[in-house]
Symmetry: C2
Subunit: 294 residues, 2 copies
């Protein structure tokens, strides 16, 4: 299996291109990474932001680690973005992704992605509002695909999340989004499917099944976030913990579906209170377990 | 006890001044709140940001809910800010707080606060680097106190966090920070002490004791974050769950220390996957439990 790391595990701890690339390459032995906006905030003033972002790109390049994509993290996930209740908030969501695309271009990374964002509690219960806001979000994404192509990106990504108040959440939602965008965008939009989101049983029940996701929208999946989970919350635990995703299940899935390019990106989110030593050792152990199963 | 709510429980769910004030006033029956930057990002372009922030201020004012302070939330807590490893990142941390102060002034709220931020994993182990960066952070805060006073704020706040790699974490650290700032700032800087941080036993061991915090730095505590916890991680659970903080303990502490103004601000952070209905009912139940104990 093609293994990489989303850099969320490192936020606040190992900063700067050379330092973090060393962790990824030497400590973890990985050649692929997904950059997180939790390291560089797309809202930072663009000159400083791009200088800091380029330092990461240079450090990873020097260490021969490929940054495949740039992705929204915890900070970005805190706001409503494209599905917010007011036009002003939705415009800020669009501007946020546009700024992230600019930063991605500055890093010479080909892809940027994030979840669409949540509806407010009230809008989520109103089918008409949901539809109107969704239509607007599609238009925004089409616009952004034009900007992204001009900036040198080759694809965008949207990540389904395990909430009925957001969109897309299910595999069927995700397919709908892909069909609605097909042919309308200047560059392809693909899905970043997170195993822990797809296996969230309180929402998806018997459809919490990765094979079902492959049947329904497998053609559109650009890459996977992998995480350990109990299926009851969006845990983002590491594979050193017991749960319903084992390295063996991941390896079997990879083989059965004859995957080649859709990197398994370890997206582990540690409590900030965990010590740096613990996080590094735990990441090493998890990569070892995944390598053994592959 | 004087009870209020940090608005973290509401992020992504109940947005806009009127809507959220209704939740706080009518559903929860509270008259005091702490605004969170997870609702309005200080980095948003200032015209839109302040317009959206003022809408919250107006809604809360109309509902007679006092916003006592403006505070950094999850998104802000994701970055290194004042204790970051490079001058450029530290300048961005200072700019972040400056922008938050501007937003606070636009809302006519008297106080803004946040944690200082973490050192990188490497700097945290280097006493010389820690000291140099800390000195710079003090200067930045003195500068910002001048800006805050000019903007109409009457105090700033710093929140100790339960990590040896950040500062301040312990009660002794917190006292040191207060003494180092005493007389140097244009407006007072106070501590926002979080019960769940102070009771984090893996770091503080037998010093995980709120009475000890009162003895050591009680004079400087501006208000408290309250949360339920098992003392093993920074849980931010609600009081509907069992843990080491009970409403009775909170009430007894309030009485014994003859507290009057240092609001107990419920800071509950729900998994985003929890439903809106659950969150609202859970918040109501917790406020009821706290009222019963008072």
């Amino acid at each position: 299996m093609k293994l990489g790391a989303n850099l969320s595990f490192a936020i606040k701890r190992w900063l700067g291109g050379d330092r973090l690339a060393k962790v990824v390459k030497e400590d973890l032995g990985l050649d692929h990474a997904q950059f997180t906006w939790d390291l560089v905030d797309p809202w930072w003033p663009s000159a400083e932001r791009d200088r800091i972002a380029r330092d990461y790109a240079a450090g990873f390049k020097a260490a021969s680690v490929t940054i495949e994509s740039n992705f929204g993290g915890l900070a970005s996930y805190t706001y409503n973005h494209f599905l917010a209740p007011t036009p002003e908030l939705r415009a800020l969501g669009k501007e946020h992704f546009k700024r992230a695309i600019d930063m991605t271009a500055a890093m010479e990374v080909p892809t940027a992605g994030m979840p669409f964002g949540p509806y407010s509690a009230d809008d989520a219960l109103d089918p008409r509002r949901r539809e109107d806001i969704y239509r607007e979000a599609l238009e925004a994404l089409v616009d952004l695909s034009r900007h992204a192509r001009k900036s040198g990106l080759t694809s965008l990504m949207i990540e389904p999340v395990p909430l009925a108040t957001e969109f897309p959440s299910s595999a069927a939602d995700s397919l709908k989004l892909m069909k609605d965008l097909d042919g309308a965008t200047d560059i392809p939009v693909r899905l970043m499917v997170d195993w822990g989101h797809a296996l969230f049983t309180p929402l998806f029940k018997e459809d919490a099944d990765m094979d079902l996701w492959m049947r329904i929208c497998g053609d559109y999946i650009g890459a996977f976030h992998i995480q350990q989970t109990d299926g009851l919350l969006d845990r983002h635990w590491n594979f050193t913990r017991d749960g319903i995703v084992t390295p063996e299940i991941l390896a079997d899935f990879w083989k059965r579906h004859k995957l080649t390019d859709q990197t398994y990106l370890l997206e582990i989110i540690y409590p900030f209170e965990e010590t740096d030593d613990f996080v590094l050792e735990d990441m090493k152990k998890a990569v070892r377990l995944l390598r053994q199963a592959a």
